[in-house]
């Protein structure tokens, strides 16, 4: 069996759900070892060991990995990855930051955002903002890839009984230092893992008006997203952005409110199962991908919608 190294995504306390989606892709390719690199991350390693199908968990517990700095993490991933046939990570900002660096250290041409596995060396990935899909064949010895998590169902978090093995730290590069984080605090489900997403666009008019979106999201237990226009206008923080360069989501239900539907936004949401668009402009391109379109002023429609469910 080919050997796969999957890089776990976590916050030193808990595994992130994206790891389970990436695991599904990894299991299609061979026997999977999971690397948990962090600081004080023993509980995460135990959690990873229970993932269905995990063979072995490699745990690198060191201050150098506390904040997942790419310089330190990539050095470790390249060192360990040299003994594998595949090195995989979820296509999150952490994976996108770290894995190309590790891939270059291994002298391998990475494949970004894999959404399909055809066979051992042939993969499918979106490009041009998801307006085309490329079927690509890797000739490199080690296939290094980030995985588009919305394209793979999560592997069960339990059922595995992997051994946990400590691995030595590759040390601190001294090239970068962590200063701080400003994380958006929310009681709502995570945008990329939510069953329902309600997104607002430029049509919302202000950040204050997003409370109409919040009210609907609360009723539906939904995550809140936004178009680039709404983020650029300062209505909501950057981590709300859905699209080509933001987050890619594929919920059961996506409700686009006051979003015109630029191709860059569609790239991030058009794999949603059901799409609803609310926009007062009947010619807005968002209606071309919406299953249910409502041409109405959102300031009338949103409160009514929230009340009706």
């Amino acid at each position: 069996m080919p050997k796969v190294l999957l890089i776990a995504e976590h916050d030193n306390a808990k595994l992130k759900p994206a790891t389970l989606n990436a695991m599904t892709a990894a299991k299609k390719l061979g026997d999977v070892d999971i690397l948990v690199a962090g600081q004080g991350c023993a509980a995460v390693a135990e959690e990873a060991a229970k993932i269905d199908g995990a063979k072995k968990v490699l745990c690198a517990d060191d201050a150098a990995y506390a904040h997942f700095l790419a310089e330190n993490l990539a050095a470790l991933v390249a060192k360990l990855g040299a003994n594998y046939d595949y090195v995989l990570a979820a296509s999150s900002t952490t994976g996108k930051n770290m894995l190309p660096r590790a891939s270059a250290l291994l002298d391998m041409q990475m494949i970004s955002d894999v959404s399909g596995i055809e066979n051992a060396d042939t993969f499918v990935r979106p490009f041009y903002a998801g307006n085309a899909f490329a079927t690509v064949q890797s000739k490199d010895k080690i296939k290094v890839m980030t995985v588009r998590t919305t394209a793979f169902d999560p592997t069960p978090a339990t059922g595995g009984a992997a051994t946990v093995e400590k691995v030595e730290s590759a040390g601190d590069s001294g090239l970068s230092g962590f200063v701080g984080q400003q994380l958006t605090k929310s009681e709502r489900p995570e945008l990329t893992a939510a069953r329902v997403v309600v997104s607002g666009g430029r049509g919302m008019g202000s950040g204050d008006n997003f409370k109409l979106i919040d009210a609907l999201a609360d009723k539906l237990d939904a995550a809140v997203g936004a178009s680039r226009a709404a983020v650029d206008a300062g209505f909501v923080p950057n981590d709300y952005q859905v699209g080509q360069t933001g987050k890619v989501v594929a919920p059961e239900l996506y409700i686009a409110v006051g979003i015109s539907g630029a191709i860059q936004h569609l790239a991030g949401m058009k794999d949603s199962k059901v799409i609803v668009a609310i926009n007062k402009d009947p010619d807005a391109p968002i209606f071309q991908v919406a299953d249910y379109g409502l041409v109405q002023d959102l300031f009338v429609a949103l409160p009514e919608f929230t009340k009706a469910i």
């Binding site: 700095l69 790419a70 310089e71 990539a74 999150s92 900002t93 952490t94 996108k96 930051n97 190309p100 660096r101 891939s103 270059a104 002298d107 391998m108 041409q109 990475m110 494949i111 970004s112 955002d113 042939t122 490009f127 041009y128 903002a129 998801g130 085309a132 899909f133 490329a134 079927t135 690509v136 064949q137 890797s138 000739k139 590069s173 090239l175 970068s176 230092g177 962590f178 200063v179 984080q181 400003q182 994380l183 958006t184 650029d232 950057n238 981590d239 360069t245 239900l253 609803v276 209606f287 919406a290 299953d291 249910y292 379109g293 409502l294 109405q296 429609a301 009514e304 919608f305 469910i309």
Partner: protein
């Protein structure tokens, strides 16, 4: 310090692309091409650093066909001082591009390389990180704010949960996110002046880099089309459809 800014010529972001009927690639004939938007942000950031007295010289580099000269002229019109075109009609992969850029960095010894975080054609998001690896430099990817702080740069990065701040020892790599700045439009006098600025032409072979693809594209296909939906007349019809037809709420 010198700043190196790699830029790429891509299909303009407003163009709705079409897959070639033989599935060999994207139709590029008679399609409007522009500087990759993230690369324009990278040029703008470098120009602002020069205006603040942090940078002394800005070198724009492009690896691509002879028409990439236009992209370099755009960077020169925005304020870059000189340009290098590494001319090739092959589409070089991020690792090969990073290797060519490393050779240029070794020769030009910039204190900083600013790149777009991704191109909107390949959507790879790899080149900056790979160049940082090959140089053994730190990397500040997806930057929304860059501040000079002594011998370091303080970088604010856009991450999945919000924002993160790092310090990076110079020299280093920065890749730009959308909200780092709003690139200027070049003025007509600056467009004229840009035509006089030096533009040197090289080839990948000059740097001893083999750009033969390691990941071969077998086929390019259209994404599955969503079937056209319906318009509902009011909220109550919408709620009814979502409950009883789509069964999602």
């Amino acid at each position: 310090m010198k700043i190196l800014v790699p830029v790429k010529r891509v299909v303009d972001y407003n163009v709705k692309i079409r897959v070639k009927s033989d599935q060999s690639g994207i139709e590029l004939a008679n399609v409007k091409m522009s500087i990759n938007p993230f690369c324009a942000i990278a040029v703008e950031e470098a120009v602002r650093m020069k205006e603040q007295g942090i940078a002394t010289e800005i070198i724009a580099v492009s690896i691509g066909p002879s028409q990439a000269q236009e992209t370099l002229r755009t960077a020169l019109a925005m304020g870059a001082d000189r340009a290098i075109l590494v001319q090739t009609d092959e589409s070089a992969e991020p690792l090969a591009i990073a290797k060519i850029l490393k050779s240029i960095v070794d020769k030009e010894t910039p204190g900083l390389v600013v790149l777009g975080k991704q191109t909107i054609d390949g959507d790879n998001n790899q080149t900056g990180q790979m160049l940082a690896a090959l140089l053994g430099w730190g990397q500040g990817t997806f930057a929304s704010k860059v501040e000079k702080d002594g011998d370091s740069l303080k970088i604010t990065r856009e991450i999945d949960g919000g924002l993160e701040t790092l310090t990076l020892k110079l020299p280093c790599i920065v890749t730009t996110d959308l909200r780092l700045n709003e690139p200027r439009y070049a003025s007509l006098p600056n467009i004229m002046k840009a035509k006089q600025k030096p533009l040197e032409t090289k080839t990948p072979a000059d740097f001893g880099v083999d750009i033969t693809p390691r990941v071969v594209t077998l086929k390019v296909s259209e994404p599955p089309k969503r079937k056209a939906g319906i318009k509902v007349k009011d909220v109550s019809e919408l709620v009814n459809k979502l409950k009883n037809e789509a069964k999602v709420i």
